[in-house]
Symmetry: C2
Subunit: 344 residues, 2 copies
Amino acid sequence: MENKKLRDLAELGEFGLIDVLTQDFQLKNKNSIFGIGDDAAEIRINEEESLLVSTDTLVEGIHFNLMYMPLKFLGYKAVAVNVSDICAMNGKAEQITVSIAVSSRFPVEALEELYEGIHAACEHYQIDLIGGDTTSSLSGLMISITAIGRVNKNSIAYRSGAKENDLIVVSGDLGASYLGLQVLEREKEVFKTNPNIQPKLDGYDYLVGRQLKPEARIDVVDQLSKAGVIPTSMIDISDGLASELMHIAKSSTCSVSIYSEKIPFDEKTSLTAIDFNLDPITCALNGGEDYELLFTISQNDFEKIKTNPNLSVIGHITSKDSGNLLIDKNGTAVNLKAQGWKHF
Amino acid sequence: MENKKLRDLAELGEFGLIDVLTQDFQLKNKNSIFGIGDDAAEIRINEEESLLVSTDTLVEGIHFNLMYMPLKFLGYKAVAVNVSDICAMNGKAEQITVSIAVSSRFPVEALEELYEGIHAACEHYQIDLIGGDTTSSLSGLMISITAIGRVNKNSIAYRSGAKENDLIVVSGDLGASYLGLQVLEREKEVFKTNPNIQPKLDGYDYLVGRQLKPEARIDVVDQLSKAGVIPTSMIDISDGLASELMHIAKSSTCSVSIYSEKIPFDEKTSLTAIDFNLDPITCALNGGEDYELLFTISQNDFEKIKTNPNLSVIGHITSKDSGNLLIDKNGTAVNLKAQGWKHF
């Protein structure tokens, strides 16, 4: 080892690192149905149902900035992003555990605010806080949540089930969270220059709200169930549409073709993107943190969802060799590239 | 709020803080049987079994020091302490998720070492790594593990089931881990003064091993099952015997009487305690990190365990008003005090 150059974490990126670290692990217990490589792990618990387990950690200075993220919102968001992972398996979250590590610079009142947000999310999503761990850190705040959910074993949606000709569907609208972050960052810079200037967030409520208080789409999971539609594959959009599409393509051994004109945007997203000299499509593809659901359905199921105002068909699944394509309004196809989030 | 003095985290301590933060949370889902207040939470999964969920976070500079804790041992220990929590409910751990936050000063090779330890523990305890999260931190290393286990609903051991006249039993021997830490701290100080002096750890293998590579007592859970004994209450010793006894007393609305002469020590623990001018009984009561099991059994079950060399009866349960007592060899009783670990 002495003569070998040590490898930098940034070289590998998060997904490469997980691959390297977990390559020697095999599943041994008969109840461990599915481990690493999807939004949540799957444990068989009885003849009809599986348990879903998902973990997400938010670190101060990396995933959030307390300068503009109120602690109550942080607590809410930390729960919502984990519930979203359970939704992405077509399941229903029922329990969470919460681990926090916090430096002594935080007073008790700060943690009470954080837990108010966690409590609000538990009420909204009807889930139970069943455990956790509270410890100190040398600096900053870290919050790690594990969400536990259930799904009927016949309704579970992996990333790996997409088939050629399946339709690609997305819920809600995209890109707003990323632009909300740009607005907050801009106001932070203004504040740093002159602390007497009040932040101008008027008119940006929707975008800032999408960034600070995203919601997990439990309503969409419910609507699909009522419509009798089981997605052939599903993932939630945390890292950006492009990155998530490529996860589905890779896991399902297929390709995707999506149409830029079909990507759903809120009007405010399109207008604000112009302000920031950004293409809204780029915000949707690479922005991330929308926490919408991206899924595929059999064409036979199109009739069942076509009137749902929460859902947009944005493309379809193609054969593995077709390449992952973004097709513009003129019919020009370019290769999809995933930037996603790089935390290292 | 402006005129109110903010409360310091240290004022409350870990258990007080958890009480304050979680007082408004109620269980809503019928499957959430038991939440905060035991070694693990309980979720009903089918007619016979419950799932157990436990989370523990280890933070660099608070829970471990990389100056003397090799990363491989750290990985092993992080798994073992969580498996121990599942043992403390009389269950069998089957899965874990691992979340790490790490600063970029760590090369990939360091994390590979950490995961080697996690892998070794997964093999030893026959558990599956089913998920997790890998992210960066601004400083240091944090590892948060959630363990998931199973238990027959009739065999589960809560902290709250101890009854008057039940026997108090402990597995293995106590105090060694704390003295192992003292040995490591002593050598660290010597090293700081003169880095050319090699650390003297010869002869301290047992103590240092108990600190760096503790084991969860899955063997004891198994032996109790084979002997047909279901503990009336159980907890694992992470914070020190005194603190754990008081948890059982409080949860079971009773008191404990233990006999100092009955507390099991390894010979090396007794000898090294003298070296450090410490009373081995104090090391057992307040040292912590032994990860032995502390439990109560009905007197009727004594015959079934009395020949088990891993188990020592150290006292018995008394009525709530009797007070928690430590009785010395002369029959003098003093009140038990729990110092435990204060991380804030």
